[in-house]
Every structure is written in structure tokens, then in C-alpha cells.
């Protein structure tokens, strides 16, 4: 009986192993060799989609792009995730990855905007308006746009007045959703997010002066895995070229 049970367990273990191998093998083959895999910060998505279309048409290479949170990509890349290029939302995480990639280089500088999806004029005074219940922002501990928003609030000297109104999203994408769905009356968001909307949905926004907050520099680096990949290296060159700079600027970013 025990012998039987033992062999049963073993049979299942072997089966499970075979299934795992069987399921993972085709996936590994899926990405053609002339393609590059990119990890891209979610705030850069609209610009990246433009860049991808242009680049693929121009070169014939294929890009496979994953969008996500910079902190999570950082942890995944450290654990050997198969990315060739990393476009982060900050400068810290790329600098920590230098050992397994090139020296990071800034590809875009984010612009902070105070936004309301409703078309009423927004200015710094709106933050203090009595009918404003909630102001959405990214968590300053987790996201550069959050730190920037806090800088602006401190610079205006209204931190104590608005503390009870602040709601914090995990990242600037969530802050944007809070405002867009009307759950928050105002949101500290990225200008690039507003410009990605159709013109009639852009509402009203105020751009704080960029000297009032820490610059939101977004760095990219070519990871060791991509150094031999022609698609990856040519995209990395393309990213800093004239055409790409034009697209990035039109998407609501400043250029280095």
C-alpha cells in the first residue's frame, strides 16, 4: 500500500514537472530573435506607443513592451527578468541597476499638473477652495510625481490646510483615475496623462512652475541582456534621436 502511494505521488510529481516544462517551453520561443523586450514606466505609455509605431515602421524590428511600476520592474530585473531595455520613471532605480547595464541616461522630464476633469479654471487657489473635498496625488514615498506634488504644496505654504483633503494613490496613474472618476475633485497628475486624453475631455489644469518642485527625471538604460540584440541597441539610439525627442516633447514632457 505504502509502495503504491509512494509511486502515485512520484507519478504525479513527474506529471506536474512535465506539464510545467511543456507549458513554459513554447512561451520562451514566442519572442522572435529580431525583437527586443522593454520594461516601461506606465506614465510613459502614450508616448511609448507612438515611439513603438514609428520605430517598428522605420526599422522593421519588433518591440515587445511591458508597462508597469518602476519599483516592481526594478525588483524583477534584479531577479533576472528577461528585459533588454528599462525606461524607468525615476533616476534612482536605473542607477541601482548599473552593474547589469549601461550608464543610465535621462530620456524625458515629467511635468506636474494640477488637474480637474471639469472645465472650470484651475489655479493654485483652487486647492484651498471650500468645495474641494479630496485632492488626489501619488504617494510621495513611492513615486516621484508624489514627491513633486508635496514640494508644490509646501512651496505654496498650504500643507496644513490641505492635509486632510489629500488622498494618495500608489502611483500617478492611480491619482489620475481618482480625479477622472470624480472621486477626487482635483488631482496632481502628469501633464502627459492629460494630453493623452481626447481634446474635449482634458478639463482644466494648472502647471506649477518647474522650479517649485524636484525635477521628475526619467532615466533609461540598456541592460546587459540587450547589448547583443540589434533591435534593443537601435531602439536605445532611436530614443535619444531627433524624431523621438519630438514625440516625447509633444506628449507633455520636457527634454534633457
Amino acid at each position: 500500500m505504502t509502495v503504491f502511494r509512494c509511486s502515485l505521488v512520484r507519478t504525479f510529481a513527474v506529471l506536474a514537472l512535465l506539464l510545467t516544462v511543456g507549458c513554459s517551453a513554447p512561451n520562451a520561443e514566442k519572442v522572435p530573435t529580431y525583437a527586443a523586450t522593454l520594461a516601461v514606466a506606465s506614465n510613459f505609455r502614450p508616448a511609448m506607443e507612438h515611439l513603438k509605431a514609428e520605430f517598428e515602421q522605420e526599422t522593421g524590428y519588433t518591440l515587445s513592451v511591458s508597462y508597469g511600476a518602476t519599483g516592481q520592474f526594478f525588483a524583477q530585473i534584479q531577479s533576472g527578468a528577461p528585459f533588454d531595455v528599462f525606461l524607468a520613471a525615476d533616476t534612482l532605480r536605473p542607477s541601482l541597476l548599473q552593474g547589469i547595464g549601461t550608464t543610465p541616461r535621462t530620456y524625458a522630464i515629467g511635468q506636474l499638473a494640477l488637474w480637474s476633469p471639469v472645465k472650470e479654471p484651475v489655479s493654485s487657489n483652487t486647492l484651498n477652495a471650500p468645495d474641494i473635498r479630496h485632492i488626489a496625488m501619488a504617494n510621495p514615498d513611492l513615486a516621484p510625481y508624489g514627491t513633486a506634488a508635496l514640494d508644490v504644496i509646501n512651496h505654496l505654504g498650504i500643507r496644513d490646510d490641505v492635509t486632510n483633503k489629500l488622498v494618495r494613490g500608489e502611483n500617478v496613474g492611480q491619482a489620475f483615475v481618482f480625479a477622472q472618476t470624480g472621486n477626487a475633485d482635483l488631482g496632481f497628475v502628469a501633464l502627459s496623462q492629460i494630453l493623452a486624453l481626447p481634446e474635449n475631455e482634458r478639463g482644466a489644469y494648472w502647471l506649477p512652475s518647474s522650479i517649485d518642485y524636484a525635477p521628475i527625471r526619467q532615466d533609461a538604460l540598456l541592460l546587459d541582456r540587450g547589448r547583443e540584440n540589434a533591435a534593443a541597441t537601435s531602439f536605445f539610439d532611436f530614443l535619444y534621436g531627433e524624431r523621438a525627442r519630438e514625440i516625447i516633447a509633444n506628449s507633455g514632457y520636457k527634454l534633457p
Binding site: 519599483g71 473635498r133 479630496h134 488626489a136 504617494n139 514615498d141 513611492l142 489629500l166 488622498v167 494618495r168 494613490g169 500608489e170 492611480q174 483615475v177 481618482f178 472618476t181 470624480g182 472621486n183 477626487a184
Partner: protein
């Protein structure tokens, strides 16, 4: 444990208690009805109750953001009644938890109620018990283990809630910053010592609660009939 983390823990316990209590009140009649009814609509209700088991919390969170915002019918009436919004508030989290943990209360209760035959209920009625009396004197004691399982599972499941709170909470200290959010934040900012303190506490607490249930169930087997 730092004061903000202790506050998050306290808030989480408060949330789990509130959600469990409300679900006990809503879930018991619902489970009883599901256990007894022969109506055609029963599978539909059962499927709705089980939905939170299958749906990703992000789906629930997304719909709650839309359904509860201050311009929506629910959100605006709540705002008029209480002067507070449902999203980014403790009440909103309670509501979300009630939806999210519904199957954990209803399903164990329903299974327990299904084992009660009509016979003892009819005997109780013939001895002069009102339907309510029969329910509390016969059905509830006979389903004690089902109640215990349902309450513990609901409580524990609410303690571990993360995805929905992340989406509708807004991470406000003392209002919506629950323990899972606090752990997430600590890990993301590489403050592993604080993350450990919180996580270990939650781990020990969860294990003790579950251990208690299993020991209790073994020591005091409930014999019916």
C-alpha cells in the same frame, strides 16, 4: 512597531470586526433562504454570492470607484446623509469588505443550514415555537460550527484585504491605511525592518486564530440529533 503602523493595525482590526458583524446580520438570513428555497432563481443568487471569489479585486475596486463616486446615485445620497464621501472613507472600506467577504460568510452557513432537516424544525413548531424561536433554539445551535467557521473566515479574509483598499482607499492614515497597505508601502520603500514587524505580527495572529478554530473544533465536537 511604529505608531503609524500600530494605527494601521488597529484600523484593520476595526474594519474586520465591522465587516464581520454586518455580514453576520446580512449573511445569516441569506444563507438560510439559500439552504431552504426551491425557487428557480437560487442558482443565480448563489452565483452572485460566489462572484467575489472569482473576480480579481481590481474589478471590484474599479466598479466601486465608479459606483461610489460623489456624483453617482449611491455616492451622492451617502454624501447628503453623512456629509462624507464613500470612497476614501472608513465606511466605504466597510462596504467594500462586506461585498468582498460575502461568500466567506454565506457559504459555510449555507452548508451548515443544509444539513438541518425539516423534521426538528417541525417538531419545534408543533411544540409551540415561533418560526424565529425554532430558528434560534434549533437551527442556530445545530449550526454552531458553521457559524464559527463563517465568522473566522470572514474576519481573517477581511484582515488580508489589499487590492480593493488600494483602489478605493486613498491610503489615508487612521481612515483607510490598513495593515496590508502599510506592509506594501514599507516593502516598496525598502524599509524591511518595519515590514517584518508588521508581517510577523499578522502571520502569528492569523496562525493563532486558525489554530484556535481547529483545536476548538476537535475538543468540542458538536453532536446533533
Amino acid at each position: 512597531m511604529s505608531p503609524p503602523d500600530a494605527a494601521a493595525l488597529l484600523l484593520t482590526l476595526k474594519l474586520a470586526c465591522a465587516a464581520t458583524l454586518i455580514l453576520l446580520v446580512i449573511g445569516t438570513p441569506l444563507a438560510w433562504w439559500l439552504a431552504q428555497t426551491r425557487r428557480r432563481g437560487k442558482p443565480v443568487v448563489e452565483a452572485i454570492v460566489a462572484l467575489p471569489l472569482v473576480l480579481p479585486p481590481t474589478v471590484l475596486g474599479f466598479y466601486l470607484l465608479i459606483a461610489l463616486n460623489p456624483q453617482s446615485p449611491i455616492g451622492s445620497s451617502w454624501l447628503r446623509m453623512t456629509g462624507d464621501t464613500l470612497t476614501f472613507s472608513f465606511s466605504g472600506l466597510v462596504l467594500a469588505s462586506v461585498l468582498y467577504s460575502l461568500p466567506f460568510m454565506v457559504q459555510p452557513l449555507q452548508s451548515a443550514f443544509e444539513t438541518i432537516t425539516r423534521k426538528p424544525m417541525e417538531v419545534a413548531a408543533s411544540l409551540g415555537a415561533s418560526p424565529w424561536g425554532a430558528f434560534f433554539k434549533v437551527a442556530v445551535p445545530a449550526s454552531a460550527r458553521g457559524f464559527l467557521t463563517a465568522i473566522i473566515l470572514t474576519f481573517a479574509h477581511t484582515l488580508g484585504e489589499f487590492g480593493i483598499v488600494l483602489m478605493v482607499g486613498g491610503n489615508i492614515p487612521n481612515r483607510t491605511r490598513v495593515i496590508s497597505i502599510a506592509v506594501y508601502e514599507r516593502v516598496e520603500t525598502l524599509q524591511y525592518a518595519e515590514a517584518h514587524a508588521l508581517s510577523l505580527f499578522l502571520l502569528v495572529l492569523s496562525f493563532s486564530v486558525l489554530l484556535f478554530v481547529y483545536i476548538f473544533n476537535r475538543r468540542f465536537p458538536i453532536h446533533v440529533g
